[in-house]
């Protein structure tokens, strides 16, 4: 009669230990992690990062400077959707004069412990090489601050 009780209590103890360890590791990882590492601004990924950070900081001039001139010059303002935004690079394809950076865009518009609403989707930036600089041609809609007039 006592054998199963001990076993059950052992199970609960192990589970509580797992929960405790997971919480401690999560706290450590989240608090000790630095800001995302800054990529080389001469690469397409670096341009995507610089542009996105500028949009998040609402630094419109800097963000516009990373767009191709056709778009930046003649630009109808669009509102970016930045709730709990997070970008992870899936892959980048670099060709002679153009590049595509695929990203996973995660947004979280939840505002409480029981209404967590994370949503992840894949999308891509396309870039063109103008002179020596990579400039962004299209962005995921969450990060769009411009759309072409008349288009």
């Amino acid at each position: 009669m006592t054998e199963p009780v001990r076993e059950r209590d052992k199970t609960l103890g192990v589970i509580l230990a797992i929960i405790g360890v997971a919480v401690v590791i999560a706290l450590a990882v989240v608090f000790l992690r630095g800001a995302p590492e800054t990529l080389d601004p001469a690469t397409p990924e670096g341009v995507v990062q610089a542009y996105s950070v500028a949009v998040l900081d609402q630094d419109r001039p800097t963000a516009l400077s990373h767009l191709i001139p056709e778009l930046a010059k003649d630009c109808s303002t669009a509102d970016a959707h930045l709730d709990g935004l997070r970008l992870t690079v899936v892959s980048s394809t670099i060709r002679a004069s153009s590049a595509t950076v695929r990203v996973t865009v995660t947004t979280n518009s939840g505002a409480g412990p029981l209404e967590n609403s994370e949503y992840a989707s894949d999308d891509s930036f396309t870039l063109q090489k103008v002179g020596d600089v990579w400039l962004i041609e299209t962005t995921p809609w969450q990060l769009a601050i411009c759309y072409p007039k008349g288009g």
Binding site: I15, V29, L87, S91, R102, V103, P113, L114
Partner: protein, 557 residues
């Protein structure tokens, strides 16, 4: 309404009910009640439209809506008389003599009066609340008045001395008390939440970082919430105390009580406490947003915690007066709720942990995610512990049927969650394998599902161990009798309960028409002693003398 004392009296002043006939009669009843319901709804819409125009006389500047008026007139003068005709067909003595003991009659009355109650209470309270803000809403007032009359009419039929239903007697008042409670609690949370929010804003203003409020003065939403509180509270009070729902011991009333005490109030309170903790954690440990933004939901969260706690404590006391199965069902439902919240909290914590391991190029911070998970886990976990008492040794635990059902439900839910999360994870793994992608983005795609899966696995492992321990500890005694059909007169609740407890058998009661009494519990249990059979017919004699009037007949399987 005229006899508020005790329409929920099971004995009732309804002598010699005639058993309702089935077959074509059932179809006739269903057709008539459906027609009546539709006619009443259409006529009420028409009347509300006409009345709203009446209230608007002298206010409307331009009124050229002839089509709307024609519609209201048609609804009123076509559906109204037709409703009267159908009602006469339903209500006349001969029909009622056959129908009042059918199930369709109380179901129609409960459905129609519930719809009417929801509509009139919602519309009239909204009208009063908007009136405080200085808005005149004739349509709400008209709809509220008309549907209140429809409701009173149905309550009158429900309590009628000759034609009231003889089955499902407590259902309509129980539903009405629940509606009153929900409206009142919603209003109270709104009023208190607004009050606390404006207090916080004022404090912030003193500290120089308050939100600037634009629009209505702060006391208007508070008063609006109070309108709903008073209205809903009055509805609840009337049905709970005056109509007597709090003394109702029917199955339906017990189920509703379990939902309120075990689930609704506890969920509201947990939500409030967890959100409060979440906000406190963010204030101190998450500098990403200004404090004004972070504390925005704090007022409502505290209000939900307080009001939820009041409702919870009150109904827990009500549950304490009910039979043991109701008490244990309440505890099990609460344990399931807190378990689900704590498990999701753990899942979100794992999700945040994995998010911290990925290397994004842009990140606005995952601390809110982590704090959300931790607050749900910290609030729901201890409550689950108190309710479930995992430390109890097996010898002191009783493996009740409810507990076994609870374990089976948990296995079922775990299996569904595991299946869905595994599908998501598998899909993303294959998608990533077929198409070149980075490990970081794969982790970002599957971390939510992985967190949930981890939580589910822990829940399933713990309860599986519990299930095995219960099986090992349970005395494997075969029941002597599986099913007892009890034929007895009078109030058989206690007798049936005693038989159930003593034998563990399923008991079906057939009530005797002529007799108001039955043999004593001791005599019945004595007669059952030593009987072994699959099914047993038990006929209790009239009178409570312990003489051998009890007949036990073994039935063939």
């Amino acid at each position: 309404m005229s006899t508020p004392t005790s329409p929920i009296d099971p004995a009732g002043a309804n002598p010699a009910p005639v058993t309702a006939q089935g077959g074509v009669q059932t179809v006739r009843r269903l057709t008539l009640y459906l027609l009546l319901f539709v006619m009443v709804v259409i006529a009420a819409i028409g009347l509300s439209g006409l009345l709203a125009r009446l209230f608007d006389v002298g206010r409307a500047v331009v009124n050229d809506d002839t089509i709307g008026l024609a519609q209201s007139l048609a609804f009123t003068f076509i559906a109204g008389p037709l409703a009267a005709v159908v009602w006469w067909l339903v209500w006349r003595g001969a029909a009622m003599h056959r129908d009042r003991s059918s199930l369709a009659w109380p179901i129609y009355l409960a459905l129609a009066s519930t719809v009417a109650l929801v509509v009139w209470a919602g519309q009239l309270f909204a009208w009063a609340a908007e009136g405080i803000a200085g808005r005149w809403m004739p349509a709400e007032l008209a709809t509220g008045i008309v549907w209140a009359l429809v409701w009173l009419w149905h309550v009158w039929m429900w309590n009628h001395s000759k034609n009231s239903p003889t089955r499902l007697i407590g259902v309509a008042p129980v539903i009405a008390s629940l509606i009153g409670l929900v409206l009142g609690v919603g209003g109270a949370v709104m009023a208190l939440g607004m009050l606390l929010s404006s207090t916080l804003d004022a404090l912030g203003g003193i500290a120089g970082s308050g939100a600037v409020s634009i629009g209505l003065p702060w006391w208007v939403p508070v008063l609006q919430g109070l309108v709903w509180t008073v209205g809903g509270g009055a509805l609840w009070w009337w049905h709970w105390f005056r109509v007597g729902v709090h003394t109702d011991r029917s199955g339906f009333s017990n189920v509703v009580l379990v939902i309120i005490a075990g689930f609704g109030s506890l969920a509201l309170c947990l939500f409030g406490v967890a959100t409060t903790l979440f906000i406190v954690l963010r204030i101190f440990l998450d500098p990403s947003d200004p404090i004004v933004v972070i504390i925005q939901p704090l007022g409502n969260a505290i209000a939900a915690a307080l009001i939820g706690a009041v409702v919870f404590v009150y109904h827990r006391r009500a549950v304490a007066d009910r039979p043991a199965p109701v008490r244990s069902a309440t505890t099990l439902v609460s344990a399931g709720l807190t378990l689900a919240v704590a498990a999701s909290g753990f899942g979100v914590t794992v999700n945040a942990l994995l998010a911290g391991l990925a290397s994004p190029i842009v990140d606005t911070g995952i601390r809110p995610l982590l704090f959300g998970g931790i607050s749900a886990l910290l609030v729901a976990g201890p409550v689950w512990w108190l309710l479930w008492r995992p430390g109890t040794p097996a010898s002191q635990r009783v493996s009740t049927p409810g507990r076994r059902v609870y374990l089976v439900v948990i296995f079922g839910v775990s299996a569904v969650v595991a299946l869905i999360t595994l599908l998501v994870i598998g899909f993303q793994l294959f998608a990533s394998a077929l198409d070149v992608g980075s490990g970081s983005s794969l982790l970002d795609q599957i971390r939510q599902a992985l967190g949930l899966l981890a939580a589910t696995v822990l829940v399933a492992v713990y309860h599986f161990a519990l299930w095995r321990a219960d099986r090992a500890a349970a005395p494997s005694v075969a029941r002597a009798i599986e099913h007892i059909t009890l034929v007895a007169g009078g109030d058989t609740t206690e007798l049936a309960g005693a038989i159930r407890e003593a034998t563990g058998a399923k008991v079906t009661v057939l009530r005797v028409a002529e007799s108001d009494t039955h043999s004593s519990v001791d005599a019945v249990l004595a007669a059952l002693g030593g009987v072994t059979a699959g099914r047993v017919l038990l006929i209790s004699g009239a009178g409570s003398s312990p003489t051998a009037e009890v007949q036990v007949i073994r039935l063939a399987d």
